[in-house]
Amino acid sequence: MKSFFRMSYPYILWIGLFIIAPMVMILLYAFTRSSDGAITFKFTLENFGRFLSDPTFLKVLWTSLRIALITTAVCILIGYPAALFIANLPEKRQTFLILLLTLPMWINMLLKTYAWRGILMNFEIESEIKVFIGMVYDFLPYMIIQIHTAIAKLDRELLTAAYDLGANKWRAFLKVTLPLSVPGIISGITLVFLPAVSSFVIPKLLGGGNYVLIGNLIETYFLVAGDWNFGSAISLIMALIIIASMYLTRKLDTSGKEE
């Protein structure tokens, strides 16, 4: 057992160097101010105050959250029936359909988005709708696969029992299939909402330059303004939102299991 543990040293070193150390640096920057490149190690909440007291920044935060929420909702609405449909097919065809679903995931996201840009350019649609088309297209497979896995491993005997006890198809779905597929929905949300809230390439390319999102802000303050302190504070706020939503979804998941 001990020798196995030793084999994880490289990985621990990796985590330390490339995950923990950068996070510590972001923390350090976020809670300090620097003038002319010199960092004065004095604890300050100034960076956070600047973000939270400015309605324009809060507007950006809200736009990012709104786009992510709507994308996730649309993914569930389209993804659930699709997953249910696939799960009720013979096993061989299920495997084939899931393979088809994962096919677009082999293509680089940037390429797919540029392709959508070319297609959507010819249509007079609101740029916000274009953004959602691109986002849902990109994230939908994750949602379908998660829900499908949950439904496919569901014990069919339970449904038979429900029918025996006089439930009709609709009632059996509501009382058996849906509650038991909640874990799938939850992990689907995790896989869609979290990347969606921090994504900025798709809105940038499909939104025709009408969106400033959190990701764009972080980029500007780091690379253009050279204000690493404020940039770090925004990154940290972003990270907190992601951690909070992960906590919430896990909470939903466990309360679902206790029932």
Binding site: G208, G209, L217
Partner: protein, 355 residues
């Protein structure tokens, strides 16, 4: 005896090469040169020809903004030749991060075009040799906006409600503030609080009345396809757009604009300064300049190549965007702003875009 003879013959062979400039070309063979340039800013055949001629390897990488280059230089050190813009070269000189050009090797500076001689940030080419130069201007669709209309408005076209929803704004805080400051009759390098805040107000008004789309390089293809009526564009990109779409024209407003120069410099910690100087000499020469400018569309710093490409039968004959305006008193080269404004202008710019 035989060996000495061979040596003699070899030396004689190398003589013409050595006589061309003050370096031993043979000693460079097999070396590697690290070049860091803007994206899509070179004819790769020129790089390959250089590799072949001197039997060296060029490690060619690209960057997207001066600020990014600055960050890279603070953390890494492997570059022999970099191509920053005017104000960034000024900052690099001030920070002591550059080494002087070896003019015994780079002996062809007399070939530089008039517009890129005696530049404010480095008047006698101590550190920098100009590569491409450009102005900032407006590309517009002549079927939607007439020439007289555009010339009369200049930068104020960006506050004309008649063009609302039909304009691209280049997403760069420095250029955004430049057009506002020029429209208001200020210097593009002002650090006066009241003037910058007036420019900020001008830009807020621009955002509200024009509702522009904020873009970067996408603007090139989008305007070539004629998706919008007008766009803020660099002259080199404008030259390409005009050659692709004959409805498009280029206006350099009479209120004045920014003249930008991208120049080759050698970082103080370059590993291979000799080869770097040889490379700079090669890129400044007529043939390399002609090929690069033909491929990219930006105005060459080589006078002869510039004349050839814009002259009769040249690639950019009759293309009004190709040769940047020079010698106009209201035009300015960017100066490196004090660090306070380096941070504040992008901050103000983000807030303008969000509103």
């Amino acid at each position: 005896m035989k060996r000495i003879l061979i040596c003699l013959v070899l030396c004689l062979c190398l003589l013409p090469l050595g006589a061309m400039a003050e370096f031993d070309a043979a000693s460079l063979a097999g070396q590697t040169l690290n070049v860091y340039n803007w994206g899509e800013y070179v004819d790769m055949d020129v790089i390959r020809a250089f590799e072949k001629e001197y039997n060296v390897r060029v490690n060619y990488k690209t960057f997207e903004s001066n600020e990014y280059l600055w960050l890279q230089l603070s953390s890494e050190d492997a570059w022999d030749v970099i191509v920053p813009s005017d104000y960034m070269i000024e900052r690099l000189i001030k920070a002591g991060k550059l080494q002087p050009i070896d003019k015994t090797i780079v002996d062809n500076l007399d070939q530089l075009a008039e517009g890129v001689q005696n530049l404010s940030f480095d008047p006698d080419n101590t550190y920098a040799v100009p590569y491409f130069w450009q102005t900032v201007g407006i590309v517009y669709d002549t079927t939607k906006i007439s020439e007289e209309e555009m010339e009369a408005q200049g930068w104020e076209a960006f506050r004309n409600p008649a063009y609302a929803g039909h304009a691209y704004m280049y997403d760069s805080s420095r250029d955004g503030f430049m057009i506002a400051e020029k429209a208001l009759g200020y210097s593009a390098n002002t650090t006066d609080e009241a003037e910058i805040m007036a420019a900020n107000e001008w830009l807020e008004d621009m955002h509200k009345t024009l509702k522009p789309s904020y873009v970067t390089d996408e603007v090139i293809d989008s305007m070539a396809e004629g998706l919008k009526w007008m766009a803020l564009v660099y002259s080199g990109d404008a030259a390409y757009i005009l050659s692709e779409n004959e409805d498009m024209a280029y206006c350099v407003p009479s209120q004045g604009t920014n003249v930008a120069i991208d120049a080759m410099v050698i970082p103080a910690n370059a590993k291979n300064p000799t080869l770097a100087n040889v490379f700079i000499r090669y890129m400044t020469g007529y043939e390399a300049s002609l090929a690069n400018s033909t491929e990219v569309g930006y105005a060459s710093a080589n006078a002869e190549a510039l004349a050839e490409l814009s002259g009769p039968g040249g690639e950019y004959e009759g293309n009004e965007a190709y040769i940047p305006r020079s010698g106009y008193e209201k035009d300015e080269i960017y100066v490196d702003l004090p660090s306070e404004w380096q941070a504040r202008q992008p901050d103000l710019w983000e807030k303008i875009k969000i509103q």
